[in-house]
Amino acid sequence: MSQPTLQRNRQGVDYGEEQNVQKLQAASRRERRDGGITIKPFSLWMLVIWGLVFFFAGFFSVRHGADFTATNLDRGSPPPAQSTQAVQTGTASASAVDSTVADANAPVVAHVAMKNMKFSPATIEIKKGDTVEWTNDDITPHTATSATFDSGSIASDASWRHTFTEAGSFPYKCTFHPDMKAEVIAK
């Protein structure tokens, strides 16, 4: 009577031991596998994020004349509807406190209206690196055309931008209406 009990007990102990070992091995296997999985997408995401960061950084430096520290404040004018502009407004509001310092060198968008068959203002002074945006408030199409830039036809209510990367004076006209003459002075 006692022998079978002992045997059963031993068997029970043995069985239990083996089960624990299996669990341990399985856990360590899982850990190794899991580790492999968690590291990979982590670095992949970082790669994507950094890629985007560099992409936008590059984009802004090209677009706004390589002024990397500048906040690209669109001084006194509404930002145009562009996906990249969201990032720009973010920085703009963040540095609103020291805006007077940032303003001095930040590229701006100056506005020229095409209204009643005239460019208004007819002469606009900007800084090198600034952008001029022409908006057609007339019924008829217009152009802003110089030796160095040409908007092509700007329809009624449409607008067109040009960034002046070099200093100089740029007389321009509307090719459709030769009496429409104006000038951009980039300093």
């Binding site: 068959m117 005239k118 007339d138 008829t140 009624s156």
Partner: protein
Amino acid sequence: MLKSIALVVTTAVLAVFTTAHAQTSGAAAPPNDAQIAQIVLTADTVDVDYGKLAVKKTKNAEVKAFAETMIRDHTAVNDKAAALAKKISLTPEASDTSKSLESNGHKELATLKAMHGAEFDKAYVDNEVSYHEAVIGVLDKTLIPNAKNADLKALLESGKPIFVSHLEHAKELQKSLNK
């Protein structure tokens, strides 16, 4: 398309003309908004037709560029006027002014068609000068003061600098052709 519209308009105008003639309509009553809209549409269409003929006939680059601007601008004004008429539910209505604009336009077009080369260029540009002067006169004296609808009045007012610019452009061209 334009030709067929012109044909339909001409027949309609002729029909109206005969009835109007019988009535001997009261001398130059101020036009209503519907008539003003038609005067604008006709004036624009006539100049677009001159422009299209000029683009086809001229060999002078400056005259061609001017004619292209006339087509572009007067088409833009017409589109705006048509859109406005639709918006304010205005059905353009023929009047003595629109009728005479149209018949004179057709006569002038026939005269221009018979001309060639430098003779055509000069006649076309001379006509553009006098035509725009006449249209600006009608705009100032008749159309703008009589327009009741505010949007229509605003359209006429924004049309004026366009016609003035065209007149200046035509005068410059006239000078260069007469050299």
